[in-house]
Subunit: 255 residues, 2 copies
């Protein structure tokens, strides 16, 4: 089982899109995939038409029941999606309160890691979507993973954000004695604008081999696919965005 | 003094861009404007080239000193920007810990409101930028304001996000016995894609007169302006984005 966390404290950079698209390609290849939505705003959950407001069970249970959770409890939380082999553990609104509730308890950073080890061994890949903010949810997602994927918009403001994300990881590294395997993914690349080209060049100069050598181009079909509640690789197999994420996946699987 | 909060739990919808652009237009018109960065990720602070990591004083002081803060303490936190009449109270990384620290204290929702009443009366407008997450920082920004501006990307996933934002405001309304003056701002409108047109139509049908009758179009000059660390109205007076935000401001000032 491989666990990949998709995180960036900057909002709207394509975190959820990356989880949905990579998840779908892996599932279409026949791998069993679980997506975890740790964002209280629940974009991933809504993407698949699950109404997070009505949900009784989800990721919140994993945090509040932690050691006492049984296999049956876990099964109540997992939903299937219209894509075969692709399941989701959805987010609920109550998660917004977790920072206040959990931050004092010891060991609160390892809740997700322990739950996945106990219940999720049947999956080949687990992809964790994060909220755009540093808190107990992101801390758990980072502690649980083998690899961190950081989507970064190719524009200069986003580069500052990446610097901060790196510093956050370093702060956490010291407390967790683990060094992260990081892959920075340039997204929403627009080859027509100088701002995009300049930002991409600076990204490669500053972060070198941590940055994937390709780019995810701007593709308006991502928006159309989300309107149809289908991942882009299912909605439009031949789209630019599908091809780019397939290339990214080749690199990630080869490591 | 008018206090406007720009908020949306969805990330990357143009909150910071809206604060920077409206702030600049108001300042160019001769109004004295203060921008407050309550996002620990500090995009607004970085936009003006202030290195949030190096900062000694900022919004964090307002939260931790609250009642004991003096006029001299406040002045230490406020920075000028290259635009005349436009000042900023910057964010610092320490703010990410505030949820854990503050959420149990009573009255923690009114800290910003009290500080602005005490120290900021010399400003004509205060614009508050929010993080993309519901927590003590957003609660404070909503409690302090006269008007809430909610930028919403014209794409269907974003509409679900707006529904949640509304529900959050309703939850808060009951505890604050105040009803919000809300203005929903359609952003990143792309008249070439059906997804954008369909989402815009649905937005108007669902939220009626809460939605501004205009739109902020996609304009790649926003990215170029942020590269130059200048607000778009200063960098490109005649740009589409500048015109659209000027039209929005006409409506907001008329209310
Ligand atoms: N390569 C791309 N080209 C065009 N649009 C894209 C691309 N990737 C993502 N998008 C669009 O950008 C918007 C933001 O993407 P997404 O919601 O995945 O970002 P996020 O980082 O998960 O946001 P949040 O911080 O709110 O969690 C969505 O409307 C999505 O459809
Ligand atoms: N109308 C527009 N047209 C094109 N690009 C835009 C527009 N408005 C904002 N942008 C760009 O979109 C990106 C996200 O905008 P911004 O950072 O203002 O969003 P935000 O909601 O503040 O994000 P966060 O949730 O991280 O705080 C930036 O690169 C910005 O330049
Ligand atoms: Mg997301
Ligand atoms: Mg912002």
């Amino acid at each position: 089982m491989k666990i990949w966390t998709i995180a960036n404290q900057k909002g709207g950079v394509g975190k959820t899109t990356t989880v949905v698209t990579l998840g779908a390609i892996l599932a279409l290849q026949g791998h069993k995939v679980l997506m975890l939505d740790t964002d209280p705003h629940a974009s991933l959950t809504y993407y698949f038409g699950i109404d997070s407001e009505e949900l009784q069970h989800g990721v919140y249970d994993v945090f509040t029941q932690s050691d006492s959770m049984t296999e049956a409890d876990w099964k109540k939380c997992v939903w299937e999606t219209p894509v075969e082999n692709l399941s989701i553990l959805p987010a609920t609104m109550a998660m917004a309160t977790l920072d206040g509730v959990l931050s004092k308890k010891s060991g609160m950073g390892l809740i997700v890691k322990k739950a996945l080890a106990k219940f999720a061994s049947e999956y080949d890949y687990v992809l964790i979507d994060c909220p755009p903010v540093l808190g107990v949810l992101m801390v758990n997602a980072l502690a649980a993973c083998d690899k961190v994927l950081i989507p970064v918009q190719t524009e200069c403001m986003a580069l500052k954000g990446l610097e901060r994300m790196y510093r956050t990881m370093e702060l956490m590294n010291t407390s967790q004695t683990k060094s992260y395997d990081i892959c920075v993914i340039p997204t929403m690349y627009d080859k027509r604008t100088t701002a995009s080209i300049a930002a991409y060049r600076e990204l490669r100069e500053t972060y070198g081999d941590k940055v994937w050598e390709g780019v995810i181009p701007i593709d308006t079909k991502f928006r159309t696919a989300s309107m149809e509640k289908l991942p882009l690789p299912v909605y439009a197999k031949g789209a630019r965005g599908t091809f780019a994420y397939s290339e990214l996946l080749k690199k990630l699987k080869s490591e």
